[in-house]
Amino acid sequence: MTMIRPAIRTGEHFFNGDVACAEGAIASGCRFFAGYPITPATEIAEAMSARMPEVDGIFIQMEDEIASMNAILGASCAGVKSMTATSGPGFSLMMENFGLGIMMEIPAVLVNIQRGGPSTGLPTITGQQDMMQARWGSHGDYEVIALSPCSPQEMFDFTIKAFNLSEKYRLPVLVMADEIVGHMMEKVIIPEKKDIHLISRKKPAVAPEEYLMYQPEADHVPPMANAGDGYKVITTGLTHDEKGYPAMNAEAHEKLIKRLCDKIIKNRSDIIEYEERYIDDAEIVVITYGIPARSTLRAVKDARNAGIKAGMLRLITVWPFYEEKVFELAGKTHALIVPEINNGQIVREVERSARGKTKVIPIRKFAEMHTPQEIFKVIKEVSK
């Protein structure tokens, strides 16, 4: 008889990032996964297909990524934490209904194991080319939350973080990983259940007759009734008022869009996380996220050994972008260096935030991660 594994596999494991992500989801209480096979995210679907029946959850392989995104939104509306995982082409297909999740304010997690694009691009090879799509990929004005892990352990930890943020702020949260993190294997420590902090969506505190679907509380987030709870939910992708009724006018639209943005913007200090290394006296700072952070750390250590005052700011939360921090660093450094596995995306945000106070230097790389030497070389040149 096959051993049924518990929901939380407390202990040490040698996992790849994709599997760690699946385990993080399950540890978060995710009991619904809808997906479509796509390299290099397929291992997440495979892991979920094996694990969901073990924990009384549902795994469904949908007909495409459009369906996958909608299915997780539906499942979340029924009160079950839900996730999908994909890569570039599938991410593009999900974008319209990622917007539906933003508009209807539905918690869910969308994982993108990035590969090279556009189009079919490089299915088996890495990239960070969807970072701007993560921010602006669906139509309309809105704010997003996107986390960027750089190890299998972080795939586990950040998936939990993503679920917590999605439940707290009522929106689909993005985990923007890449092929290297998805496929690399390392030790993943899964804590005991009591040490995993989980957040669940706010439920209405009033009777159904008094409940308004989109009446926000002080934190700009409205409590959420699930289907079947007796609250006669009414929701639509149309611009709507506090009741959830369609409201086709400028005033209602402005009010809704501003609140959808404010619930992220005004809670930035709660949402944004980052890591600083050797930053206090740094004259040159490398701003990084995701897998290049690991080359960056090596390069910064090498620079310190060579007597160069270099430091690293790693963005854990890429969106919302931590512009105040970048502006602050811009005021006290010779240069900000931004290595990315793309043609320069987040570097635009760095430039915008630096407001001309320092040099901003991109290190563009395609389809492979930067070597530490490549980053060190730029640090050294700048230090001269």
Binding site: I4, A67, N70, A75, A78, G79, L100, G228, K232
Partner: protein, 280 residues
């Protein structure tokens, strides 16, 4: 005028959302009432009933229904409803949407949900065109029909929806027209109580767009046409139930079978540990 009279459907609609957006002569009001009637008669606790739609004239029905209602994006009602149903099997989930939404942009979802036998109910209002955008041809528009994007007559062959549904694996397939109010309501009730993927097509007038351009007269004229040209043929092969612009309309129940649903077929892992579905 007596204003105190209570309409029998009042408890099922969101009165503060009236008047609805539907044109005079449109079949949607009648079709919607048949759905509400069936909902009431089915005896399913209303707190467990959910209505989902995509985009279009028919897609506005959930917003008028006083139960849990989800008005999603164009074509995507079925996968959204799939998530709702699988996450909470206690829910009775019905999709009320149009032919363009369910079979053109959403066609792929339809065939796959039917194939999987997801336990949801589809009510498809077929008015042969995209009414909300002003009357373009779609995947059900009869050959030769005039619409704003087929000014010389539609040169595409249409789907026979009941045939598509049956071939895709639906366990219950029926077609009625807007005039068949009693049969339609009892058919919807039957579908609501049936386990598995059910499909009901309602042939419905769109006098403002489709009817006007194809000289079908007012809404009432279309209903008269349905009355005079409908033939009830239960359990015939749905392949034989093609529709044409000026031909007969075969209606009736074509499929009523039983087979395991997606949830029935879930793997049964013995010696389960205590990891029940976590509701949040």
């Amino acid at each position: 005028m007596i204003h105190s009279e209570v309409h029998p459907m009042d408890s099922l609609i969101r009165k503060d959302r009236m008047p609805h957006i539907w044109c005079s002569g449109c079949g949607l009001g009648t079709n919607f009432t048949c759905y509400l009637e069936a909902l009431k008669k089915s005896g399913i606790p209303l707190d467990k009933c959910v209505i989902v739609s995509g985009i279009g004239c028919a897609g506005r029905a959930p917003g008028y229904t006083n139960i849990d209602s989800y008005h999603t994006t164009h074509g995507r009602a079925i996968p959204f409803a799939t998530g709702l149903k699988l996450a909470n099997p206690e829910l009775s989930v019905t999709i009320f949407s149009g032919d363009g939404d369910l079979f053109a942009i959403g066609g792929n979802h339809f065939i796959h949900a039917a194939r999987r036998n997801i336990d949801i109910n589809i009510i498809c209002i077929n008015n042969f065109n995209y009414g909300m955008t002003g009357g373009q041809f779609g995947s059900t528009t009869p050959l030769g029909s005039k619409t704003t994007t087929s000014p010389y007559g539609n040169y595409e062959h249409p789907f026979n929806l009941v045939y598509v549904a049956a071939a895709s694996g639906a366990v219950y397939v029926a077609r009625w027209t807007t005039i068949h109010v009693r049969r339609l309501a009892s058919s919807i009730e039957e579908a609501l109580l049936k386990k598995g993927f059910t499909f009901i097509e309602i042939i419905s007038p769109c006098p403002t767009n489709f009817g006007r351009r194809n000289k079908l007269g007012e809404g009432l004229d279309e209903l008269k046409y349905y009355r005079n040209h409908s033939i009830i043929k239960h359990f015939i092969d749905p392949k034989e139930a093609d529709l044409t612009l000026n031909g007969e309309i075969i209606v009736g129940k074509f499929v009523d079978i039983d087979k395991p649903t997606f949830l029935d077929n879930q793997p049964d892992l013995s010696q389960k540990q205590d990891n029940k579905v976590t509701k949040t």
